[in-house]
């Protein structure tokens, strides 16, 4: 029920953001959008704590709880962006992602994992949290990338209307995207190292055909690909934005493919 409330508030927060986009900047609308987002994230946190207390299990095991936790990390990123006035409008790029994740979690039913989790304890939680942070970094870079590409297009076709006014400057989007990628890459790298160390310590060896491993390594390589795109000759900012959008799509696509095809996927993620 609290999860649903959080979803409703996220949805409610989307309305003033769209209103801002269509009707232009209004101070009270920004406050309303920020307030609703804040309430949604607070409710979401309460829902996850409630899950933990009710089932004596962190909401990281089953697919739906994991998606909800991922959405929550997105919500935290949203709040962080709202505090930075310059990039507050990036929320419009990230909010739909949070909504989709939380909506999917609700649709699947936020239930405890069907079996015991292999890993538990602080190390496991840190590993998952860092992995989520890495994905959120990529999600932020992707959201910034989408807005960068839209703004770039608007500037090129000289259509300087509401959308142009709404979207932050190209340089800001590039900087936010770069920061998201850097933080995400470091977090995901640490998560991989931590995951490998704990697996070796607890199971003796790491199975490279494990869907989790495939997905994690694939995600890490996507980061490398985006960084390579950023360092290439000419149009680096544009290519970086495009690469972040495509890269995030690959990560999500890979996850869905593995989720559908891999065995034992009930515990995957």
């Amino acid at each position: 029920m609290i999860h649903l409330s959080a979803f409703v508030f996220y949805l409610g927060a989307l309305v003033p953001w769209i209103h801002l986009l269509v009707r232009g900047a209004r101070r009270h609308t920004v406050f309303l959008a920020s307030g609703l987002t804040g309430v949604a994230v607070a409710l979401h946190a309460m829902a996850l704590v409630d899950f933990w207390l009710t089932f004596s299990e962190l909401p990281l095991g089953g697919l739906a709880p994991a998606l909800s936790s991922l959405a929550f990390v997105g919500g935290l990123a949203l709040v962080a962006m709202l505090l930075l006035r310059e990039v507050a409008r990036l929320a419009l790029g990230l909010l739909p992602f949070v909504l989709v994740l939380q909506g999917a979690a609700l649709a699947l039913g936020i239930e405890p994992a069907p079996g015991d989790l292999d890993f538990q304890g602080a190390g496991f939680v840190l590993h998952v949290a860092l992995a989520f942070l890495g994905l959120q970094g990529l999600a932020i870079a992707s959201a910034a990338g989408i807005l960068y590409l839209i703004q770039h297009h608007e500037l090129k076709v000289k259509r300087l209307g509401r959308l142009f006014q709404f979207i932050p400057p190209l340089a800001t989007l590039e900087r936010v995207g770069g920061t998201g990628l850097s933080v995400g890459f470091v977090a995901l790298s640490l998560a991989l190292v931590l995951g490998w160390a704990w697996t070796v310590q607890n199971l003796g060896s790491l199975e490279i055909d494990d869907p989790k491993v495939i997905w994690a390594v694939m995600s890490w390589m996507v980061f490398l690909g985006i960084f390579a795109a950023r360092r290439g000759r000419g149009r680096s900012e544009y290519r970086s934005a495009l690469a972040a959008v495509i890269g995030f799509g690959i990560v999500i696509g890979t996850y869905l493919a593995l989720r559908i095809t891999a065995e034992g996927s009930g515990l995957f993620l």
Binding site: K158, P169, L170, R175, G234, R235, Y238
Partner: protein
């Protein structure tokens, strides 16, 4: 009363940039054009206003009727003039409509950016330029002189008394906003200024306020580039070294008076040994355009010309719409004031004659009085003189004011005739010089008036 004034021209509302750029007049061209109009017998007085948004001729026609064809012939004689007739792009206004148009233009109400401030300076320049031209009689006579003085006054009043100038709706501020949407903060950005156009300088000033790091100035006349660079704490570069500087700058502002593009895609590509990693904003405010439109097809280049700025301007214009009605009221009041002023122009010689005559009587009567009162101290003589001056002013004030009022209300001809009859003005050349000693002076002022 129909005022003998007209305006003919093209503006951003009637003609696209491709036409306007063909009709852009540099300072030297303006003089030639105005002399040509005078020689053709088309105008008594004329002022040519040429900006990036308009080319308009304000004139006091030599004859009644349309002056459209005279101006069309003038415009058609421009080199590279558009093929076919210019008539579809031209507009023509007469009398009060022409006056109202100039006032609206000067107040920024007819500008591409409503409330734009630069136009006031451009109108002043056009007026002054025509006024100093060597012509007999002068190209700016009493009619256009009064018209432009009033227009500049109305423009200033609109800006100071309404919010028409508030918000970022000048070309300069719009350019700065555009740069901000690309680069975010402008701290540390580098600018290349091509040419010495006034609007280009305004944009550089605005960019400087936002913290751009350095400004390179290139001009065909290197000395002018040095002067501008010094003014903006920048660096002057020879015009033929633009390509070498291009890779190092973030913003290019172009406002040269060159008849052909000075920045082409070939030059741009040649200048970039490596493809650009970061965006380059090019603002081309020159008419004719300085930058080949194909430059905008380069991947990281954002090219905007004056017409492109219209879109972003429209947003800002909405903010100022609320002030337009108020500004219109001031313009209407200005038109009425000019109508009254114009009418009063006709009575100025009459009033001058009245004053000259009264002054002559006063001086003559004082002289006669003092001749018989030789014992008066210097101080007392001064008091008597002061008394006579005040009395004369008081006696003349009311008729003068009523005469002006009557002219403004359209009773001009009959009033002038009445005053001339009553004061004997125009009876002879001598009447303007007042009474002469040898003719004998009347015993009273009233008699003098009758005489």
């Amino acid at each position: 009363m129909t005022l003998p004034l007209a305006v003919v021209g093209v503006s951003h509302k009637t003609a696209p940039v491709e036409v306007r750029e063909q009709l852009a007049y540099g300072p030297a061209d303006v003089a030639v054009a105005l002399h040509a109009l005078r020689s053709a017998g088309a105008v008594e007085e004329a002022v040519l206003l040429s900006t990036c948004n308009r080319t308009e001729v304000y004139l006091h026609p030599a004859q009644e009727g349309s002056t459209l064809h005279a101006i069309e012939r003038l415009f058609s004689s421009r080199p590279h003039a558009v093929d076919g007739s210019l008539e579809p792009y031209l507009f023509e206004k007469h009398g009060e409509q022409a006056i109202s148009h100039l006032f609206q233009v000067t107040a920024g109400l007819d500008a591409m950016v409503t409330g734009e401030a630069e136009i006031q300076g451009q109108v002043r320049e056009a007026y002054q330029q025509a006024a100093i031209l060597d012509a007999a009689p002068p190209l700016v006579g009493p009619v256009l002189n009064r018209l432009f003085q009033t227009a500049l006054s109305v423009g200033g009043q609109v800006r100071s008394e309404t919010s028409i100038g508030e918000g970022t709706a000048s070309v300069a501020s719009v350019a700065v906003e555009l740069a901000g949407k690309i680069f975010g903060s402008l701290q540390g950005k580098r600018v290349l200024l091509l040419g010495a156009g006034m609007t280009g300088e305004l944009i550089v000033d605005a960019l400087s306020r936002e913290g751009v790091q350095s400004i390179a100035v290139a001009n065909r006349t290197y000395a002018r580039a040095v002067s501008l660079a010094r003014k903006h704490h920048g660096q002057a570069i020879p015009f033929d070294q633009i390509a070498e500087v291009l890779p190092t700058v973030d913003i290019v502002l172009s406002s040269t008076a060159a008849p052909h593009p000075v920045l082409t895609r070939a030059i741009l590509r040649e200048s970039f040994i490596e493809p650009r990693r970061h965006p380059l904003l090019i603002i081309d405010i020159a008419i004719p355009r300085d930058v080949d439109p194909s430059v905008g097809d380069e991947p990281e280049v954002f090219l905007y010309n004056v017409d492109d700025l219209r879109t972003i301007v429209d947003e800002h214009v909405q903010i100022r719409v609320g002030a337009v009605a108020e500004a219109d009221q001031i313009v209407r009041a200005g038109c009425e004031e000019f109508g009254a002023c114009y009418a009063s122009l006709e009575v100025v010689p009459i009033i001058q004659s009245m004053r000259i005559m009264a002054e002559a009587y006063r001086e003559a009567e004082l002289e006669r009085l003092f001749r018989g009162l030789g014992h008066l101290a210097e101080e007392d003589r001064a008091r008597v003189e002061e008394f006579s001056r005040r009395l004369q002013n008081k006696l003349l004030h009311e008729p003068t004011a009523r005469l002006r009022q009557g002219m403004a209300e359209g009773e001009g001809r009959s009033l002038i005739e009445a005053v001339c009859f009553l004061y004997g003005i125009g009876d002879s050349e001598d009447s303007r010089a007042g009474p002469k000693e040898e003719e004998g002076l009347p015993d009273t002022a009233e008699e003098g008036v009758q005489e």
